[in-house]
């Protein structure tokens, strides 16, 4: 009995130490993003750093989300227009449903599985409320320079990509290839 109490105390102390020891959150969009997510087919991990010096558009979606469904053909087409931008999709539903959805719409850019608990990633992307669809555009240094909650259109993508390119160039970084 006494031993169990001590174990509980240790757990409590450890948790408190962890809780107190962590620094406050870094500011969103100020740092390079990085993540490692599995592809929808479960065959590979994809890291953001697999696309060095390249702008990235990340679209977070769900199969039960009407605006996600509506914007998918547009994103598919835009991914073929902006060859200098790497499009990535992150499906938040179960893997098989997401996979079937991506196949149905013949999506031509990589589709990834959201983490088991997507709260952390969504916060990093700036989607505090977990609302879908959510789209961010990263500059070539993989810093967030535009984001949108809700359905995107071609104009928004054009503006976001343009502004991100300009920001990258202003930073003296290598522009999109």
């Amino acid at each position: 009995m006494h031993r169990r109490l001590r174990i509980t105390d240790w757990i409590l102390l450890t948790m408190l130490a962890l809780a107190l020891g962590f620094a406050p959150s870094r500011a969103l969009a100020a740092e390079r993003l990085e993540f490692t997510l599995a592809t929808l087919d479960g065959h590979a991990f994809v890291k953001l750093s697999d696309f060095p010096n390249r702008q990235v558009l990340i679209n977070v979606w769900g199969t039960e989300c009407p605006p996600c469904v509506k914007e998918t053909p547009l994103l598919n087409a835009q991914s073929q227009i902006y060859k200098n931008v790497q499009f990535l999709g992150i499906g938040t539903d179960d893997r098989i449903s997401s996979l079937l959805f991506a196949n149905r719409y013949r999506v031509r850019y990589p589709q990834l599985q959201a983490p088991n608990n997507p709260a952390g990633l969504l916060r990093e992307l700036g989607d505090l409320h977990g609302a879908l669809p959510f789209t961010v555009v990263l500059d070539a240094q993989h810093r967030i320079c535009a984001r949108r909650m809700g359905e995107v259109d071609a104009r928004w993508i054009a503006t976001a990509v343009h502004d991100c390119t300009a920001e990258t160039e202003a930073d003296g970084s290598r522009g999109p290839s």
Binding site: R4, D93, I96, L99, G120, E151
Partner: protein, 729 residues
């Protein structure tokens, strides 16, 4: 039976709010602003139609805005992955959550949160609490997962503003709102006479959507050791559900569901010819010598006090030990939400349930009950910057009426029809207020609330709550919840079927059961690793206990001392490869209560630790998972007060003081053949571990009276299922 009721003045408040809010909605509704492209580095301020779909992580920013603050969430796919067909199935192998079988013959089951008694778990449909201990007793099994979007679990009394009776926590079934035309048909079969057919149809229309779902499910009664007495109760179950979803009615988004439930179940004698079982009143169809510690002869057993065979031999026929329960239930739940303007929202909810049970408890009693429940709720949420104030009122009505006939020959009312032995009527209007705010650049979220309820029997009860969520970083967060709850004691299934044979049930000394709860959790969520560690403390005071007094009256009275349950649990999931994930979930418990209450505290018979392990392999069209739970020993002598109330096996030997440790391992695999066809199969309890193979599944007191034993292990052996699911979208 009292069937009419008057509505106290306080109860009129929600209705007044409903009409007032509707009027407000009609005058201040504003159309959404048009979308504009955002500037770089500035998030779009204007939202188009945005969905928050699927599982919402409990640590998501804004999670504390809700009336019911979830601590865990189980998606429809999580349920499908493990082959769950009912709410009970969906909640297995999860730290801090367990399913307790309360009766080896009728298989009453309850959901335990943090290992507190199942009656302290409140069940809601879309946030509407229209269940009770009577309806939950057998009704939990009948809650199918067909047509659900997810199940939210909220552990702790502090997590719910609208269900103060949830002393241990709340389980909320969230109905799926159709977003596309869908037709799903699923058929499964297995051993032990298992078969299940379900359908789900959904049609999206201009004004909303409709859905229809149905389930037909059968299972044979199962005897694993040759008693001829079931360990696992057989059932024939039919469920029908209708959903109606309206996008805009006077500005309200409306979600409505109606369910019809029909179940016949029978335990004790095997088979489902219930008429024949009830007609069999003499002879011995059972083999009392089967299994471990069985009697040396088949037609009677050894009386421990004398060491002699009980005479005369058993002659009660099949009905003597049968427990047959027929249930019919209709339930209706509707919620309506309106965003009046940027800062104001209205939530309305209503629920109604009509529950009927006809039951025959062998030589104990025959029992018929009818229960009605009504729930009304209205609240207004007003935002002031980041802060949000919720003010509301609800009204809860619960009525139980019954007829019963004692079938126990040595009781004064043997064979006499009596009305309302265990009946009650509770009318409980309440008002509540909740403040949500954020501090430190949204790093700290606070939810503070208080509610005041007035019950017709127990008077005014005030319960405050506080929830804090601290986002240490994007990946790490802490939650602290402190709160109180109260619960009005009912009577029947909570403790004992025996009250139906009692001279009377004295409720005059009963008090509301109260809980004080504190819990802390640390959550970490990264791309490949997620973990949650929780510490929970719950103190129950005035816990309702039945005491059988000298005059054979059952007295419902509060426990003399508080009951305390402390727990620590952890759940971590690591995605080791793109296709492989591992889950570990240990949990530890400590129970403190006074020995003088112990003989009534079998409800607290729980293991001191459990460890859950899981492995998932999801690749291409394959989804495979295997989950196991290792359950630690339980000090049965302590819980049942064996020292003062010894109980025995059928050969007259004492029951063990400790239950053994054991594993229960389940596995499930599915293969997506093409976009519309899925094949799946599962094996539950792979190691075929059964309590009845280690411990006589019935017990007897020192004088040879038999009863159902305490269930500490699996009551059904290895089972196989296989099925097909066809989906058209």
């Amino acid at each position: 039976m009292r069937s009419s009721y008057s509505m106290p003045a306080l109860a009129a408040l929600p209705l007044a709010m409903l009409f007032a809010s509707t009027a407000l909605a009609q005058t201040s509704s504003t159309p959404p602003a048009p979308s504009t492209p955002p500037q770089a580095n500035k998030p779009a301020k204007t939202l188009q139609s945005v969905n928050v779909s699927g599982v919402i992580p409990p640590t998501q920013y804004g999670a504390l805005r809700s009336d019911i603050v979830q601590t865990e969430s189980i998606s429809a796919k999580d349920m499908a992955n493990i082959g769950a067909t009912s709410l009970i199935d969906a909640l297995t192998h999860r730290p801090g959550i367990d399913i307790q079988v309360e009766c080896s013959v009728c298989n009453v089951r309850s959901i335990t949160l943090d290992n507190l008694p199942g009656r302290f778990t409140t069940l809601t449909l879309d946030g509407v609490p229209i269940f009770s201990p009577v309806s939950n007793a057998y009704g939990l099994d009948m809650l199918g997962v067909n047509g659900l979007e997810r199940i939210d679990v909220s552990r702790g009394a502090a997590t719910s503003l609208t269900t103060p009776e949830s002393l241990a926590g709340t389980v909320t079934l969230v109905t799926k709102v159709p977003t596309k035309d869908t037709a799903e048909i699923e058929a499964d079969t297995g051993n032990f006479g298992y078969q299940r057919e379900t359908f789900y149809l959904a049609k999206v229309l201009d004004w909303g959507a409709v859905s229809l779902n149905g389930t037909n499910q059968d299972h044979a009664s199962v005897d694993g050791i040759g008693y001829g007495i079931s360990q696992f109760t057989g059932y024939q179950r039919k469920l029908l559900g209708l959903g109606l979803f309206v996008n805009d009615f006077l500005g309200f988004r409306i979600k409505t569901r109606f369910d019809y439930i029909h179940e016949d179940r029978g335990g004790g004698p095997l088979g489902d010819d219930y008429k024949a079982i009830l007609a069999s009143t003499t002879g011995n169809p059972f083999n009392w010598s089967a299994g471990p510690n069985g009697s040396p002869v088949s037609n009677t057993w050894v009386e421990p006090s004398t060491g002699q065979l009980v005479e005369p031999p058993y002659d009660g026929g099949a009905s003597g030990i049968a427990q047959i329960i027929f249930t019919r239930r209709e339930q209706f739940v509707t919620t309506a939400d309106k965003q009046v303007d940027d800062d104001t929202a209205i939530h309305l909810a209503a629920g109604y349930a009509h529950h009927e049970q006809a039951s025959w408890y062998g030589e104990d009693s025959d029992y018929w009950d009818r229960q009605q429940q009504v729930y009304l709720d209205a609240n207004i949420q007003k935002s002031f910057g980041d802060a949000q104030v919720t003010v509301g009122a609800n009204y809860k009505y619960e009525e139980l009426g019954s007829r019963s006939i004692s079938q126990t020959p040595d009781t004064p009312y043997y064979g006499i029809l009596r009305y309302n032995v265990d009946s009650y009527i509770y009318r409980t209007p309440g008002v509540y207020a909740q403040l949500y705010d954020t501090f430190f650049d949204n790093r700290l979220e606070l939810n503070a609330s208080v509610r005041v309820d007035h019950n017709n029997d127990f008077g005014t009860i005030t319960t405050p709550r506080l929830n804090l969520l601290w986002h240490h970083s994007d990946n790490l967060s802490s939650r602290l919840a402190i709160g109180t709850g109260y619960r009005l004691p009912t009577s029947f299934f909570e403790q004992d079927h025996g009250i139906l044979s009692a001279v009377s049930v004295d409720r005059t000394g009963a008090k509301p059961e109260r809980s004080q709860n504190a819990s802390y959790s640390l959550n970490y969520a990264s791309d490949l690793f997620t973990a949650t560690t929780s510490l929970n403390y719950t103190r129950i005071t005035d816990m309702a206990l039945f005491v059988n007094d000298a005059a054979n009256a059952f007295v419902l009275e509060p426990a003399q001392h508080p009951f305390i349950v402390k727990s620590a649990d952890f759940e971590g999931t690591w995605k080791a490869t793109p296709a492989d994930s591992f889950t570990l979930g240990p949990e530890f418990y400590r129970y403190d209560f006074n020995a003088s209450d112990a003989s009534n505290a079998a409800l607290f018979s729980r293991p001191e630790y459990r460890v859950s392990l899981g492995y998932d392999h999801d690749s291409g069209p394959w989804d495979f998972n295997i989950r196991g739970t290792f359950t630690g020993p339980q000090d049965l002598s302590k819980w049942y007060d064996y020292a003062d109330n010894p109980i025995y096996n059928l050969n007259g030997t004492p029951k063990p003081n400790w239950s053994p440790t054991f594993w229960v391992v389940d596995t499930h695999i599915s293969y997506q053949v093409n976009k519309w066809l899925e094949l799946h199969a599962g094996v539950n309890n792979i190691f075929n571990y059964q309590q009845a193979k280690h411990d006589s599944f019935l017990f007897q007191d020192p004088y040879g009276n038999i009863n159902v034993t305490y269930i500490w292990g699996p009551n059904i052996g290895r089972s196989y299922t296989a099925g097909v699911k066809i989906t058209f979208e």
